[in-house]
């Protein structure tokens, strides 16, 4: 039986979670305060995921950059590829929170969206 110690990142509480594993089989999850922690621990030991946040270049806006995020989590091993697509993106102002900046980033099925408003200059 393998034991993995994790820190839940589901919320800033940061619960210490212990997962007992046999191969890919999760045997027990302890230390979490809520369901999010249980799901996080299960995912983290089988297929870890992250939200990526960054900025993209803006044309014609009152600011040079717009902050963006992946609308949902993407596989952890795709972070570098996702960053490359975000770095290549250029968006025209005006921009509203939630506007799509990169559609279906790296074929993950997840969009990259704006996280702030930018007015046209």
């Amino acid at each position: 039986m393998e034991k993995r110690e994790l820190t839940c990142i589901g919320c800033p509480m940061g619960c210490q979670i212990t997962v007992e594993l046999e191969g890919q089989d999760v045997k027990s999850i302890t230390g979490n305060t809520c369901k999010i922690g249980e799901n996080y621990a299960r995912n983290e030991v089988t297929h870890p995921e992250r939200t990526v946040t960054s900025t993209a270049v803006v044309l014609g806006g009152d600011k040079p950059r717009v902050s963006v995020k992946t609308k949902a989590n993407i596989p952890k091993d795709k972070i570098a590829d996702v960053m490359k697509e975000i770095d290549a993106a250029v968006v025209n102002a005006p921009i509203r929170i939630g506007d799509i900046v990169v559609k279906n980033v790296c074929g993950t099925g997840v969009d990259v969206v704006a996280t702030r408003n930018i007015e046209a200059d």
């Binding site: 820190t7 990142i9 939200t51 900025t55 040079p64 902050s67 995020k69 960053m83 996280t115």
Partner: protein, 420 residues
């Protein structure tokens, strides 16, 4: 002179939430004064996610969280002035402000809410004499450069201090292609949130060296290398432990300190521990009608708690303006000892207390499997076990009014950390 019921100094999350709560409590003439060119405060540069899970049950980025409150301020048609610096607040609540358009002017406020946030600790943290080459930034400055201006300060980075901004910037600069070589922390524990250590360092294999500091900086015009060394219990570098890292950037992330020049000049009494005002159960300072909330009161790591605290300050300021807040008198002193460093608030007037009162505090060291205990005079009334407590994470206990009124003559509440 202009006249407003409530003047709020600072348009960050604290100022915004206080304004909305005061409007909900029926106050018409509210004015927010913000020195920046937009509302939202520090959150505008915190583009990472992890904000608002407690408040909105979803994970937002800083700008998104700020916008939720900006929207409420706009909907409620609460007045605000940008590019406006508050220069002075007097004990009789005359606020002096200045902007390029309007010059210097004064406002008589029925109540004032201090919501100026905090700033980074100065470079003093870098305790080495001599010349400072280019390439040394505070972590917050680097955050603004990268996230707002889209400018990368460098390619090879060493970070001194493991505060949250430093951790967040370690990941941010790594994602943008920089090589973050090491994070050195003077203390034997990190001042940052656990989840930031996991997600910002562990994820990218960035080493965190506890009990280490920078002992040498090289470079004529621009930084070329730094040397770090282990330190002993007295924070003195241990000879023979030096390690040299070539780098073009050194980020300093040595903690935050409430921004209270205005409060001090107004005669607000300060806590030497939090560097913020001393407040009572209503979040009111020693000056009647002057309230404080958010990072200007004590440094928060969770914006959700900032918003919650600020809403209470807004409600109480509204009561004050309407004459519904009985005279301030403190029946009960709250003392923090044995590992608990301070509490906010630090006095309670039973008449003014809500049914529930949240006491927030921080511990002075890392405690495992210990208890947060609350004493009413000499009797222990609360004894909550915690798996882990660390200086980087704010703790809280909730006091119930009916428990306090059961104890007439109660003079002193003590919060302490006990091993059993």
């Amino acid at each position: 002179m202009l006249n407003y019921d409530i003047v709020i100094v600072g348009g960050g999350p604290a100022g915004l939430a206080a304004a909305v709560a005061a409007r909900d409590a029926g106050i018409d003439k509210i004015l927010i004064l913000e020195r920046d060119k937009e509302l939202g405060g520090i959150l505008n540069q915190c583009i990472h996610n992890g904000f608002g899970l407690h408040t909105f049950k979803e994970e937002l980025t800083g700008p998104e969280y700020a916008y939720r409150f900006i929207e409420k301020v706009l909907e409620a048609k609460i007045e605000y002035r940008l590019n406006t610096m508050v220069m002075d607040i007097s004990a009789d609540r005359v606020v002096t402000a200045m902007s390029r358009e309007d010059g210097m002017y004064q406002i008589q406020a029925g109540a004032v809410i201090l919501a100026m946030g905090c700033r980074e600790r100065p470079r003093g943290a870098l305790n080495i004499p001599g010349f400072r080459p280019a390439g040394i930034f505070s972590a917050g400055t680097a955050q603004r450069l990268v996230n707002i201006e889209g400018y990368m300060p460098g390619r090879e980075v060493v970070i001194l201090g493991s505060g949250d901004i430093g951790l967040i910037m370690a990941r941010r600069m790594t994602l943008e292609g920089a090589k973050v070589k090491v994070v050195a922390e003077l203390m034997p524990y990190s001042g940052g949130l656990k989840r930031n250590i996991v997600q910002c360092l562990d994820d990218f294999g960035i080493p965190l060296k506890l009990s280490h500091t920078v002992v040498d900086i090289e470079g004529k015009d621009h930084l070329t290398a730094v040397t770090i060394a282990a330190v002993d219990e007295k924070s003195k570098p241990i000879p023979g432990t030096e390690e040299r890292y070539t780098c073009d950037t050194l980020l300093l992330s040595c903690g935050l300190i409430p921004e209270n020049e205005l409060s001090r000049n107004a005669g607000v009494e300060m806590s030497p521990i939090t560097s913020g005002p001393i407040v009572n159960e209503s979040l009111e300072t020693n000056i009647p009608g002057v309230f404080a909330c958010g990072n200007v009161l004590h440094v928060h790591d969770l914006v959700d708690y900032v918003s919650e605290e600020a809403a209470r300050a807004g409600e109480n300021a509204a009561k004050y303006v309407k004459g519904q807040l009985s005279d301030a008198k403190s029946d009960i002193e709250i003392t923090a000892t044995d590992g608990a460093r301070y509490t906010v608030p630090s006095t309670i007037n039973i008449d003014r207390m809500d049914d529930k009162l949240t006491l927030r505090f921080r511990v002075g060291a890392v405690y495992k499997d210990s208890f947060v205990s609350v004493y009413f005079d000499d009797e222990r009334v609360m004894h909550n076990k915690k798996r882990i407590m660390a200086p980087g994470e704010m703790e809280q206990v909730i006091l119930l009014k009916n428990k306090l009124t059961e104890k007439p003559g109660l003079k002193k509440i003590t919060v302490k950390i006990e091993s059993e």
